[in-house]
Symmetry: C2
Subunit: 295 residues, 2 copies
């Protein structure tokens, strides 16, 4: 794909927070000649961010954002939902403000009244890294970037966030915040719990066996676990703070997703219990057919 140049369009761009997402945005925009001005929490981060070239100017003083026409709030969800007063005061009234939070309804609800040109958005890119060392070039290429405008979202502001997403090579999506949150509950937040519970079951199941006459089980499951187990448990072994924030701020949708999951698992278990092998095989065939639709 051709990546549109961001230079002319966006003017000085502010980035609040230079972790994985903020740092990656900074690197890519600077490569395209955009003037990037970053606000960070700590002096040490500022120094290291400048060394890494994540922004042209990095400061702990919110005034650094003054000349920006677009500001990306690349903050963890909890700090985004309880923004510092000094940050709020420093956001230019005429600038477009967007965020990168992975749950959208509470962000939209909180920020819509705070700034007339706020656009809620979610670039869906990640690695297991975090912090000022995490930012990498090209993180957003071919990844979804979902905006969730509300009834009062400024259409011209939405266009500018779209231009940013396309400049970074992302695929642009627009949907209602509730739809976004329901979707990520099913495909992103539910998998964390499903996968984490598998780690705990392997630990607890083998521990229980050890307690009742099979002392080798805990070591055996650890020695024999293969790539299939590693893949299925990857997201369950991820960042606990992040997993908790997602669950906390997308609680209702996650509980609904867990309900659907429980129904599906119950059906498979009852096939096993009843020895209904043709039915179990039909269910697993359905799973095999479904998966390519999600890849």
């Amino acid at each position: 794909m051709t990546i549109p140049s961001a230079g002319a369009l966006l003017g000085p761009v502010g980035v609040v927070g230079l972790g994985l997402i903020g740092g990656s945005i900074g690197l890519d925009l600077r490569d395209q000649g955009v003037d990037v001005r970053a606000l960070v929490h700590r002096e040490a981060t500022a120094g290291r961010a400048l060394e890494r070239g994540l922004a042209d100017v990095v400061s702990t003083d919110p005034a650094v954002l003054a000349p920006c026409r677009l500001v990306v709030l690349a903050l963890p969800l909890d700090r985004l939902l309880e923004p510092a007063p000094a940050l709020l005061a420093a956001l230019p009234a005429g600038a477009v403000i967007t965020d990168v939070g992975s749950v959208k309804a509470p962000v939209l609800e909180r920020w819509q009244p705070l700034h007339p040109r706020f656009v809620a958005s979610h670039p869906m890119a990640g690695t297991s890294q975090a912090g000022v060392e995490a930012g990498v070039r090209g993180l957003f290429v071919d990844r979804p970037w979902v905006a969730t405008p509300g009834p009062t979202t400024d259409p011209e502001a939405l266009d500018q966030v779209r231009a940013l997403a396309l400049a970074l090579g992302a695929r642009w999506f627009c949907c209602a915040a509730a739809a976004h949150d329901r979707a990520v509950a099913l495909i992103s937040h539910l998998p964390v719990l499903v996968s984490g519970a598998l780690l705990q079951a392997a630990d607890q199941g083998s521990g229980a066996a050890a307690a009742s006459g099979e002392p080798e089980l805990p070591q055996l499951v650890r020695a024999l676990a293969s790539s299939g187990f590693a893949d299925t448990t990857r997201v369950g072994g991820g960042n606990p703070e992040l997993g908790t924030l997602m669950a906390r701020h997308n609680r209702e949708a996650l509980l609904a997703a867990l309900g659907h999951y429980r129904q599906a698992l119950d059906a498979l278990e009852s096939d096993v219990r009843a020895g209904a092998w043709p039915r179990l095989q039909a269910e697993l065939e359905r799973c095999q057919q479904l998966r390519p639709e999600f890849l």
Copy 2:
């Protein structure tokens, strides 16, 4: 690691079935100068197996096994548990017989009385491929190969299967059949159901949303699903026949594993429901600590 040479030790080796496991064994043993004689079900397979060099002699006549001192039954679990009378009659009385089945207690129970030198074993290697085209060189290198001797297993026969496993570069394990089956229920068979149910939940959860006023959800979940979802659902989208065979022949251990899984998921869900965020985070921290133990 240094891979011991199999040539002197093993003499002619018979392989029954030239799918992924049998074909891979044949390729590696022939590379080491071992005479490999294979029994297959269909003439077409025999021709293709010879073209691929999976064995020196390939036949649909069980008499091909007559000169073998070691025979590997590389058959699907159902055919292994109901062996053809012609195969049984053709197994040399003095040869060591082993299998590659992924559940061990029923195999040991069935085969121990059938042949005095039977050794139940399970090379834990796999790809998503099956059939005569699937065999590859080096499949077993650094993979576990688990033997599950019973009280009457011939120790010298066990040694010969160990020599085979080491010749193929595998890591050798020995444990009780029940312990093996409990372990693979937790780390291999449970993940198939856990992962398959996630595919169904994403499908059904988004379908339910579409039916109640969010028509875009089914497309949205499919468009936004990322590498995390892909990893978590990989084994659930695998071979349905294989998944069903595992469940069928390891039913009790799988149901026990499902019980442990349900407890773990229930605890996570109740944290979300109660808004017990520090407790949820502690649970996810435990998951994060556990995972490296299984890698």
